[in-house]
Amino acid sequence: MPQPLVHVEGLKKYFPAGGFLKKIWVKAVDGISFDIYEGETLGLVGESGCGKTTTGRLILKLIKPTAGKVLFAGKDITKLRGKALKEFRREANIVFQDPYTSLDPRQTVFNIIMEPLKTHGIKVDDPEGFVTKLLYEVGLNETHLYRYPHEFSGGQRQRIAIARILALRPKFIVLDEPTSALDVSVQAQILNMLKDLQKKYGLTYLFISHNLGVVRYMSNRIAVMYLGKIVEIAPAKTLFENPLHPYTKALLASIPIPDPEAARTKPKIQVVGEPPSPINPPPGCRFAPRCPYAKDICRQKEPKLKEVEHNHFVACWLY
């Protein structure tokens, strides 16, 4: 059994949402636990507002958790400070969704990629050669060295953002919807590149996306989130072929399939309504109000994540 690189336990994040005498909290992430093993890609899927992005940020200590702990290579990062924190920042990094806002418009590509090295006080002998090599790594070349972000397309900008991270030789990267701002023909280029880089450098990914096709293509294991909770974790193939949680089933039945024949015959399990607000989540199982199989216990007690098959965890009273 490989060692987990990231170990998350009972992680919570509540955001204040006003209230005068009694504080109101948005329970964005509400007690989740999982491991990410070295060299694997863990996919994190869910609909908007389910807490995927918040989870990604918590793991990198970009925001402080309300409760719970995150171990990175055995160290609790919620307690890291000073030099140790800086070292962690070198090893773990993030690619954002929007390549139009994550690059400084006033800096050349060369400066953008050199900046993290300066921050970390890393000296390279031949900066130009070093950056050029990185650009080749992400499918760009030396003619792009002294250009500015506005001269690039969305896909190329995302490549620059990835080159900037590679400059630090990280171990772990959170990919927060890295391709959802891109067109499908370009999306495939970036996904393949990310897979190649992972193989070459032994990277570990947390891949956050709402696109189930993309997540299946990228991930070894997938965690499904609903309203701040993880409802199911399983190897990618298992999750798609044998989903257990009613929400996962509904989610999979809702994706439009690019095959007209399969689309006509596929089972229609449709959930009604929309996800409730994370301010006052329903008691018990959070999916119960929309769940076709909900029983009394589902509305009273919260189900715990339980291993029902080898490596297949689900939080549901049906199992």
Partner: protein
Amino acid sequence: MSGPQFREPIIEVKDLYVYFYTYAGVVKAIEDMSFTIYKGEKFCMVGETGCGKSVTSRALANIVPSPGRIVKGKVIYYRDGKPVNMVELSEDQLREIRGKEIAYIVQDPSSALDPLYTIGYQIVETMIDHNTVKDWKEGYKRAVELLREVLMPDPEKRIKNYPHELSGGQRQRAVISIGLSNMPRLLIADEPTSSLDVTVQAQLLELLRKLVKEHGLTLFLITHDMGVVAEMCDRVAVLYAGNIVELAPVDEIFKNPKHPYTMGLLRAVPNPQADIEKLEPIPGTIPNLIYPPPGCRFHPRCPFARDVCKREKPPLIEISPGHYVRCWLHAQ
């Protein structure tokens, strides 16, 4: 469900050119576009950002936003069998058709609704404008029925709500009921579900399918999602850089794609139902339409490009009944 059943045309686009006159230069958004939508069918237009799909849909109702202009071409609308050219109609005549006979659902429901009026008011307003109800009281009754039809929860209460009080899915339901309020003959839906979550998207697509069937509407759906195309359409037009590159019945497009761009697009989309070892991306990016590539606009990215592709623009030709392709590979 393909071509032959739907023989009575409702819209015929002939040789349409739409240009945008910007400071940076003239953007040739649509060139040499011709297609027909038949009565009662679900016609889809698919393509990537900037390929001209939204502009096409706007040209159908003659609402191309400034600085865009229809430079050339005709949009024939068969109004009770009598053809009228939408491009030449006066503003008054267009107002009679838009919102009543041709309705439009946009991608972003929050910008389509006026934040200062209740959604009930906005639904009734459309009907009052077109004299389909006799007064506001009758209008409100009809609005509740419409909201119930689009499966809005608690329609009696919702008509008194302002747009900000509704969720994204509920707002889109409100926009759909405005579109349906005058029982249009043609419903144009421009990415109606792209800003919504998949479980909500599935509910709305199901609803659109039901409405088209029950009311005998004609649907013109615009999307970038091949999955939505497969689930919703009878016929599909694939757009690339302002040109239709392929047009065929939906099964034909997925099983027997002929244009290299369509083939590439299908291989580049990760299918959630299959284990895929390696995706095959299309190299390069979409061209700048101020200076589009000469010849076939896809040739810089095409693995089969030959000399003729760089020089001359291929025509859209019918290679089998109902299957049109714009490619030199199939032109001889």
